[in-house]
Symmetry: C2
Subunit: 407 residues, 2 copies
């Protein structure tokens, strides 16, 4: 008998019928003798509806009051799901985050979990209940309702699993696991049976939107066994996200090819090659609330250098405007930009022990005539920026080059 | 400077625009230097939507979980209203019932308030906030979410006013006060400036659906000054519900004419006139969950008597079936019934000190040829059952007879 925490996303609980299906699944786990804690999101569309309602009243909603409103989305789902589980013949009780209590800091709309009181849940489990806990929410030390921000239900589930020392935290979503790359681009993409937390973090931040990145960090930190599964099929074991790479197996060098279409690049040409220039460029960008992704500065010559970075494509025009306004102040020759680019990355803990992965990647791209505009590397990841028209080709070539299409 | 508790019903907060109007009104009271606590209901239609959603999952919803779901209706409104008040330039903070905390018993879906902790509210008021508290809800001693049942927001407001020793509890609704009778039936109906709690109780239970009856009892018990006002006009002082009749004024004998269309009457003819017969008849009726209103048993003759009572018209067929099934057991001769009746009542504390009110009422009805089928009296009320076709006529005649059309 194990203690399992199951998280179901908004699509999985998007209608009364889907809630009933989730209840059937929960009841099966319970019938197998397991203790089950379920963490549902709000029904799909509900959080957006509530935020739109708030904005009708106050275009930039008061954060404390927005949390009071937004938290009701999950509160409705826990009640409905608990009823559906009772209908399946199990005992069930629901709790909001504040009721549990999930203690957070006071940063409304993006609070962080500080601690979880597991007393009520343990008591209810001991009495044979399935316990349904609202994801995405908690209360600060003064009892004010807080929410964790988008995707926060994943984090709630992982934090509950950590607090309860659960045997496994299962994240049910609309895909059946983590893939070597997007199957819509590479038909041969394979579901991974396991992936390490570090790889998952790189995959997630690069656009594989299976898991909220904060929940993966949390699971890694607290050694929670995390599994991604589909809520729409009963088959398969999903993908297990492991704390360490499996030493007993021949580990593949590369675990997956991630990519991000929503990129744009900006280059400041001919800036004086002196200390502090990067801050002079990126300071105003940060002040404009634009997130920067890759940053590249090469060695200069003749006392000047070129400075490049990428931003989300929706911030391209804003970032360009900021740079133009500071151009003369920083002594730059010219600002150039391109919003028709994308980023493709090879991710794998295996590259730590296998030299030559970068050159293998660059050769494969060169053989297809794909020009790399920027290169950035970390310990377990190599990212390149290429013209967006090459995205699919680059992903397919790299997927094949690293043998990901073979089981 | 006074401390005012204002309650706004579902229609008054039924849309973002109406919520903004409520916020403007609240801000005006605040600007006059008063401390204001606001208790809104759920937006009109929202509670029904949530209950329907629950019933899609579980036809007879689990009461604990239904409360978890239903409580979100008011939770959304408090957040929206607090934002709207902030938009008006005031400081505002919202609280759910459990946050306050409003302690109730554990009778889910119709809980009773046991106590209210006023600490948070007093602190926020002292800091200059308008405090917005969700009506209709609370939490039991174990922190489970409870609701007070239909109309519970009135009770929440009165209970808060009592706990805070507020100077006045204002119930904003879609009528501008309590009338001598329904203006749709009698054009000359006048708004009452004051009415006693006792009279209001009789008016409410007889179908004047201005205030939830439990809230009136509560206000009477805790001596809360209660005022009914319209949220759609800025004029008028509404109707003040007073603890005692005003000794200084010439009190009218009758304060209002109440009526109820939804009645049906049942008569058990020729039952043995012996002790226990009333219980033998009404016991099975109660077991079938049918509420009985008026009960009449006249003196018998020849060892038998006739026993009559009225029920809500929707329970007529059910009650009839119950009586038929016990007819031979109780030794009755015949069961007769009529669901085309109505009840008309004259209400007034003045009748305590004015004899002859009943005969004045009966003569007025007789002069119009209206036959009274049943008569029932209390200390401050006389009710008669008449054919429903006479309802409007009877109400108009009595309204005029007791001089209610004159200011």
């Amino acid at each position: 008998m194990a203690l399992i925490v199951q998280k179901y996303g908004g699509t999985s609980v998007g209608s009364p019928d889907r809630i009933k299906n989730v209840a059937k699944r929960v009841a099966r786990w319970k019938a197998m003798g397991h203790d089950v804690v379920v963490v549902p999101s709000a029904m799909s569309g509900e959080t957006n509806r509530l935020i739109a309602l708030a904005k009708e009243i106050m275009p930039t909603p008061d954060a404390r009051e927005l949390d009071v409103i937004a938290a009701t989305g999950e509160q409705v789902t826990i009640g409905l799901l608990a009823m559906a589980i009772i209908q399946e013949g199990c005992k069930a009780k629901s709790y909001t985050g504040p009721q549990v209590r999930v203690l957070t800091d006071s940063t409304h709309t993006k609070a962080r979990i500080l601690s979880i009181d597991d007393e009520k849940i343990r008591k209810d489990l001991a009495e044979g209940n399935v316990v349904v806990v609202a994801g995405f929410q908690g209360a600060d030390e003064n009892g004010n309702i807080t929410t964790l921000g988008r995707g926060g239900s994943d984090t709630s589930a992982v934090a509950l699993a950590a607090a309860l020392k659960a045997d496994e935290c299962q994240i049910y979503t609309d895909v059946d696991g983590v893939y070597t790359t997007d199957p819509r681009i590479v038909a041969e993409a394979r579901k991974l049976d396991t992936i390490t937390f570090e790889e998952m973090l790189e995959m997630a931040s690069l656009g594989s939107k299976v898991l909220q990145i904060r929940s993966v960090e949390f699971a890694g930190k607290y050694k929670v066994k995390l599994r991604v599964l589909s809520s729409f099929t009963d088959e398969g074991e999903g993908t297990l996200i492991t704390v360490e790479e499996d030493k007993n197996m021949e580990q593949p060098v590369i675990s997956g090819i991630a990519f991000n279409r929503d990129e744009a690049k900006l280059t400041v040409l001919g800036v004086p090659d002196r200390p502090g220039i990067a801050y002079q460029i990126l300071g105003p960008i940060a002040d404009a609330n634009v997130d920067v992704d890759m940053i590249i500065q090469n060695v200069g010559h003749d006392g000047t250098t070129d400075f490049s970075f990428t931003v989300n494509r929706s911030d391209f025009a804003k970032a360009q405007g900021v740079l133009e306004s500071v151009k003369s102040h920083i002594g730059a020759r010219e600002i150039v930009g391109d919003n028709k680019i994308c980023k493709v990355s090879a991710v794998g803990v295996g590259m730590r022990s296998h030299p030559g992965v970068a050159s293998q990647m660059f050769r494969a791209l060169a053989e297809e005539g794909i020009n790399m505009q920027m290169i950035s590397t970390s310990e377990i990841k190599i990212s390149v920026v290429v013209d967006e028209k090459y995205l699919e080709l680059a992903v397919r070539v790299l997927h094949k080059t690293f043998g990901l299409d073979q089981a």
